[in-house]
């Protein structure tokens, strides 16, 4: 029995009924790897699981090296919604952005202030002051197109907006912590370092 949930209480009756319960809710790269390993162990596919983990790690490494080779650390803002909720230190997205060799605006700004939280609503004024080079809009943010962001008069002066570096992408593949994270990571890095590939 496998459950993807944060509500352990709801699973207690199932466990009491004699079914073993495993909860998968990874929030880090390491978490993804250990979940795959665990799944391999309980399904009797230990070897396959280890192979998958190795191949994901290799994919991440290759792409991360390409990003590092650019020698650039663009400032990136990751918008969780159209009121500027973002991913700060300790979030999965922050970990991905760090691997992608860029500066997560939500994390850098957060670390200096009182807002060193994984998820918080970012000040629009700070966004203007931070002037990100790239703006990432996951599809779950509610933005239908990059134009919707660039049309906001408040952000017309941002470097990312002026250079057209505002990207909308499908976050079910890009940032969902699962076996496809290698492919997702590559899409992310392509947006952050456009010239790298």
């Amino acid at each position: 029995m496998v459950g993807y949930s944060g509500n352990e209480e709801a699973l207690a009756p199932i466990q009491a009924a004699g079914a073993p319960v495993l909860i998968f809710n990874p929030a880090t790269m390491e978490g993804i790897y250990s979940n795959i390993t665990t799944l391999g162990a309980v399904t009797g596919a230990t070897g396959k699981a280890a192979g998958l983990v190795e191949s994901i790690k290799a994919q991440i490494q290759v792409v991360s090296d390409v990003a590092a080779a650019t020698g650039e650390m663009p400032k990136v803002f990751y918008a969780l919604d159209n009121t500027l909720w973002t991913c700060g230190p300790g979030s999965f997205v922050d970990e991905m952005l760090t691997l992608a060799h860029c500066t997560n605006v939500g994390s850098v700004e957060g670390a200096s202030g009182a807002a060193a939280q994984p998820y918080f609503q970012f000040s629009p004024e700070r966004l203007v002051a931070a002037d990100p080079d790239v703006i990432l809009l996951p599809s779950s943010s509610g933005y239908k197109s990059a134009d919707e962001f660039t049309a906001d008069s408040r952000f017309a002066g941002l470097t990312a907006v002026k250079l057209g570096h505002v990207y909308l992408f499908d976050d079910t593949t890009v940032t969902r912590p699962g076996a496809r994270i290698g492919q997702g990571f590559k899409i992310l890095v392509q947006a952050i370092h456009p010239g790298a590939f």
Partner: protein, 320 residues
Amino acid sequence: MTAAVVGAAGLSVGEALRAFAGLLRHGTDATGDYPDWAPRLLLDLRLPRIIIALIAGAALSTAGASFQGIFRNPLAEPYLLGVSAGAALGATVAIVWKPLTSLGIYTLPLLAFVGATAAAFLVYRVATIGGQTGGPSLLLSGVAVGSTLTAITSFLMVATERDLHTVVVWLMGGLTTATWTKVFITLPVVAAGFTYMMLMSRRMNLLLMGEERARELGVDGQRTRRNVMVVAALTTAAAVSFSGLIGFIGLMVPHIMRLLVGPDHRRLLPAAALFGALLLLVADTVARTAMAPAEIPVGIITAATGGPFFLYLLRARKGA
């Protein structure tokens, strides 16, 4: 003025003042002893946000004062007629029903406004029996319609779990997305509403003395109440549709002002407008600076500081 030079952007007060001076002389391209983005930030982000805070604060406070006056009920508030529940449902529909979002960024405020006014109309119709609209039946139908709409909103939130976050953020209320366009849309509605309530202030005073006395003095209580109510609901809807549900201001500010300037609506309404505007501005300034770069939903601040302050005022008056 203070609010204009204090902010989350890491701009010093001096820089902000110099950037303002540059802005006045040369527009947003002004350069000087401050970051290049400063004039634009002040003009496009900080000023509209300050003005929206003032407008919304004034709108909620005067609507609250009027509702309390015409129904002679201290618990009446701007959300009395189901305006908040209607606005919430409208906003939620705008968020979860994807085909609608293609209509652009004004879908949400528009639907919130439609929801708010439709709810107010519905509550009023339900409460009107045989041409008469009683205070108690209005309060009760407001509660009933409100909880029905809230149930639908909750269902939509559960049914479309992916958008839960967006809906919750809107419900908590906030002014983070203020722009000049929003100022230009809200200001005329709220200004017209305020003017109308001021014109009716003498009649509202007479209504305070009771329906019978008012009638003797030539005031049609039923009509006055209906008209003021419609206008107050529209004013509230205009404020709410852009700033989400900001609590406390509309209930407490009129009471605080009544304690300070008395129940005469001719003085109470402007006093409530002024104090409500300033209170929301102060609260929003705290909201955008206290935990910078994180924002705090402004409704939390208005309720957390306003509640205790109001209790203090009540106790102090009783002791005097």
